[in-house]
C-alpha cells in the first residue's frame, strides 16, 4: 500500500516535471530561434556583425559603438529583428486563438478564422487596394481596412449567432460560414468589376500573408497585445476546459459559459484583427499547432495554452526564415509555405488513430 502511494507520487512528480521541462525547453528554443533567425537574410552579414549590433543596442557597450549606425545596423536592427519579433507575435496570436476558438465552438476543425475573419479582412484589403478606400490613412491603409473588415465581420458573426437565443457552437460556425461567403462574394465582385490585373495580383499577394512589412511600430502593437491576451486566456484555463464539455455540463459544474464565450470571442477577434493588420492572412498555424500540442501533452488548457503559444511563435519564426531563403532574390509568401508544411501535418493528424478528434476509436 505504502509502496503504491510512493509510486503514485513519483509518477505525479514525473508528470509535473516533464511538463515544466517541456515548457522551459520550448522557451529556450524560442529564444534560440529569435537569435538564430536574425542571422538569415539576403544581405551577407557575419555572425559577429549581427550580434555586435544586438549587443550594442541592448547594453550600449562602448567598444561596439561602430555598430551604432550604418548599413549593418539598419539591416539587423530595423529590418531583421522587428521582422523576427513580429513573426513571434503573429505566430503566438494565431496559435493561442486557434486553441481558444476550438474550445469556444467545441470543434477540433476550427481555426482562428472560423468566424469569417479572414474573408472580412480580405474584403477590407480588396476595397483598399481596388477602390482606394481609406486612402486618407496613408501608408498602411490596406492593413487598417483589413483590420476593420476583420473586426466588423467577427462582431457581426457574434451578433448573428446571439440572435434568437443564446449563441451555440453550431450557430457560431454556421454564421461564420455565411458571413464569410458574403464577404468573399463582395470582394470577388469588386475584383471582377474593376478589372485591374495588377491590383488583383496585389490582393492575392496580400491574402497569402507576409511579414515583409515588419517595423518596430507594428511590433510595438502586436507583441504587447499578444502577450497580454495570451496571459489573460491562460488564467481562464479552467473555463476553457469546461467549454469542451458543453454548456449543460458546465452549468452543473458551476460555470455559465454564455457570457464568457462572448468575451473570449471579442478578445480573440481583436488579437486576430491585429495579426491580420500586421501580416495578412496566414492559415494553418492556428489549426495545426494546437493539435500537435494536444497530441503530445493532452487537452488540459493549463498546459495547452502556454505550450501552443511558444511552439506557434517558434514555428512561424522558422517559416518566415524559410520564406526568406527558399527563393533566390525573392520572397515566398508565408501563407503558401505554412500551408505546404501545415497541410501534410494535418493529414497526418487525421489518419493518426490514437488521437481521438471525435472521440472516435
Amino acid at each position: 500500500m505504502k509502496e503504491e502511494n510512493l509510486q503514485e507520487k513519483r509518477s505525479k512528480i514525473l508528470r509535473k516535471t516533464s511538463y515544466i521541462a517541456v515548457f522551459l525547453g520550448l522557451l529556450a528554443f524560442l529564444i534560440f530561434s529569435i537569435l538564430a533567425a536574425i542571422t538569415f537574410g539576403n544581405a551577407d552579414l557575419s555572425l559577429k556583425d549581427v550580434y555586435s549590433v544586438i549587443a550594442y543596442k541592448l547594453f550600449h557597450i562602448k567598444r561596439l559603438s561602430e555598430y551604432a549606425e550604418g548599413a549593418i545596423h539598419d539591416v539587423v536592427w530595423l529590418i531583421r529583428l522587428p521582422r523576427v519579433l513580429l513573426a513571434l507575435g503573429v505566430g503566438m496570436a494565431l496559435s493561442v486563438c486557434g486553441v481558444v476558438m476550438q474550445a469556444i465552438v467545441q470543434n477540433p476543425l476550427a481555426d482562428p478564422y472560423v468566424l469569417g475573419i479572414s474573408s472580412g479582412a480580405s474584403l477590407g484589403a480588396t476595397l483598399a487596394i481596388m477602390l482606394g478606400v481609406g486612402g486618407f490613412l496613408g501608408g498602411n491603409s490596406v492593413g487598417v481596412t483589413a483590420f476593420v473588415g476583420a473586426l466588423v465581420t467577427s462582431f457581426a458573426v457574434i451578433f448573428i449567432a446571439n440572435m434568437g437565443g443564446k449563441a451555440t457552437s453550431a450557430k457560431l460556425i454556421l454564421a461564420g460560414m455565411a458571413v464569410s461567403a458574403v464577404c468573399l462574394a463582395f470582394s470577388n465582385f469588386v475584383i471582377y468589376i474593376t478589372n485591374d490585373k495588377s491590383a488583383a495580383t496585389e490582393v492575392m499577394k496580400w491574402s497569402m500573408g507576409s511579414l515583409a512589412g515588419a517595423s518596430w511600430n507594428r511590433v510595438a502593437v502586436m507583441l504587447p497585445i499578444t502577450l497580454i491576451a495570451t496571459g489573460l486566456f491562460w488564467t481562464q484555463y479552467r473555463n476553457l476546459n469546461l467549454m469542451l464539455l458543453g454548456d449543460e455540463v458546465s452549468i452543473t459544474l458551476g460555470t455559465d459559459l454564455h457570457r464568457l464565450r462572448t468575451s473570449y470571442l471579442i478578445l480573440a477577434s481583436v488579437m486576430i484583427g491585429f495579426a491580420v493588420y500586421c501580416a495578412g492572412v496566414i492559415g494553418f498555424v492556428g489549426l495545426v499547432i494546437p493539435h500537435v500540442v494536444r497530441i503530445l501533452f493532452g487537452t488540459d488548457h493549463r498546459k495547452l495554452l502556454p505550450l501552443s503559444a511558444l511552439l506557434g511563435a517558434s514555428f512561424l519564426i522558422w517559416c518566415d526564415v524559410a520564406c526568406r531563403i527558399v527563393l533566390k532574390n525573392s520572397e515566398m509568401p508565408i501563407g503558401v509555405l505554412v500551408s505546404i508544411i501545415g497541410a501534410p501535418c494535418f493529414i497526418y493528424l487525421l489518419i493518426r488513430k490514437s488521437y481521438g478528434f471525435g472521440g472516435g476509436k
Binding site: 505525479k12 488564467t235 459544474l253 460555470t255 487537452t299 472521440g359 476509436k361
Partner: protein, 251 residues
C-alpha cells in the same frame, strides 16, 4: 439537503411536458422517479439541475429559490450524473474528474494537493483508479458513466441528481453504483428505469406519466400490480424473497 419542486410546468411549443409537478425529498433521502419513456422524468431533473428554466413553478434547495443563487453556489450544492457525456476532445480520466473541483475554485486559484487527493479518492470509490491516465473517450460506456460519477463525487455536494445512472452498466456495476450512492448519505434524486432497482434502493418513489404525478410513496406502497398495469400496461406480480426483499416479476 432538502430539495423541493413546486408546480413545475414545462412546454415545448404546444406540447406540455410537465403539467405541474411538485416533489419533495427530505434530507439524505434517496428519491426515485419512475415512469415510461417520454413521461417527463429527464425534463423534471433538468429543471432541478437548472439547465432548463421551467415556464412556471420553482425549485428550492433547502428553501432557497434555485435561480436566485449563482450557478457556482448551486454546483456546490448538487452534483449531476446525466446522459450527455460525449466529448469531442481527449481529456484523461483524471482531468475529467478534476473538473468536479471547478465549483470550489476561484479564477486564479490553482488545483492543490487536496484537490488531487479528492480526485484519487473519488476514482477509488468507483473502482476506476487504474484508469486515471487513460483517455476518457477510449473507455466503454459503463466506464465513462463511473468516471462521471467520480466527478460528481469530487464535487462533494450534499445532494446528487442522477438521470438513469445505471444505463450502460452491467449488473455488477449497477448494484455497485446504487450501493455506493446509498452509502454516500446525501440527498439523491434519481430517474430510474429498472423497477427492481427502484424497489431495492429508493426511500420514496414518484411516478410520472405524461407530465403528471400518478403516485408517490414507499416502494411497497407505490409498486403494485395495479399501478404498474396503469402506467406501463404490463402485468406483474410482486413477490418477497427469503430476505424479505421485494421483487417485481413481469408476467
Amino acid at each position: 439537503m432538502k430539495i423541493t419542486t413546486e408546480d413545475i410546468r414545462v412546454a415545448f411549443h404546444a406540447r406540455e411536458i410537465l403539467k405541474g409537478v411538485s416533489i419533495e425529498s427530505e434530507n439524505k433521502e434517496l428519491v426515485g422517479i419512475i415512469g415510461p419513456n417520454g413521461s417527463g422524468k429527464s425534463t423534471l431533473l433538468k429543471c432541478i439541475y437548472r439547465i432548463l428554466k421551467p415556464d412556471a413553478g420553482s425549485v428550492y434547495l433547502d428553501g432557497e429559490e434555485l435561480h436566485s443563487m449563482s450557478v457556482k453556489d448551486s454546483a456546490r450544492k448538487m452534483a449531476v450524473v446525466a446522459q450527455h457525456n460525449y466529448y469531442n476532445f481527449d481529456f484523461t480520466v483524471r482531468e475529467v474528474v478534476l473538473m468536479g473541483r471547478a465549483p470550489h475554485k476561484k479564477t486564479l486559484e490553482r488545483d492543490n494537493a487536496r484537490d488531487y487527493q479528492i480526485v484519487e479518492e473519488s476514482l477509488k470509490t468507483v473502482q476506476m483508479e487504474q484508469f486515471a491516465e487513460r483517455t476518457f473517450s477510449t473507455l466503454s460506456g459503463g466506464e465513462q458513466q463511473r468516471v462521471i460519477l467520480a466527478r460528481a463525487l469530487a464535487q462533494q455536494t450534499p445532494a446528487l441528481i442522477l438521470d438513469e445512472p445505471t444505463n450502460h452498466l452491467d449488473i455488477t456495476h449497477q448494484i455497485m453504483l446504487m450501493e455506493l450512492v446509498k452509502k454516500l448519505n446525501v440527498t439523491v434524486i434519481s430517474a430510474i428505469h429498472d423497477l427492481n432497482i427502484a424497489a431495492a434502493y429508493c426511500d420514496k418513489i414518484y411516478v410520472l406519466k405524461e407530465g403528471n404525478l400518478e403516485g408517490y410513496g414507499t416502494p411497497q406502497e407505490v409498486l403494485t400490480p395495479e399501478l404498474i398495469r396503469r402506467i406501463y400496461r404490463v402485468e406483474s406480480e410482486i413477490v418477497y424473497d427469503s430476505h424479505g426483499k421485494m421483487h417485481i416479476l413481469f408476467l
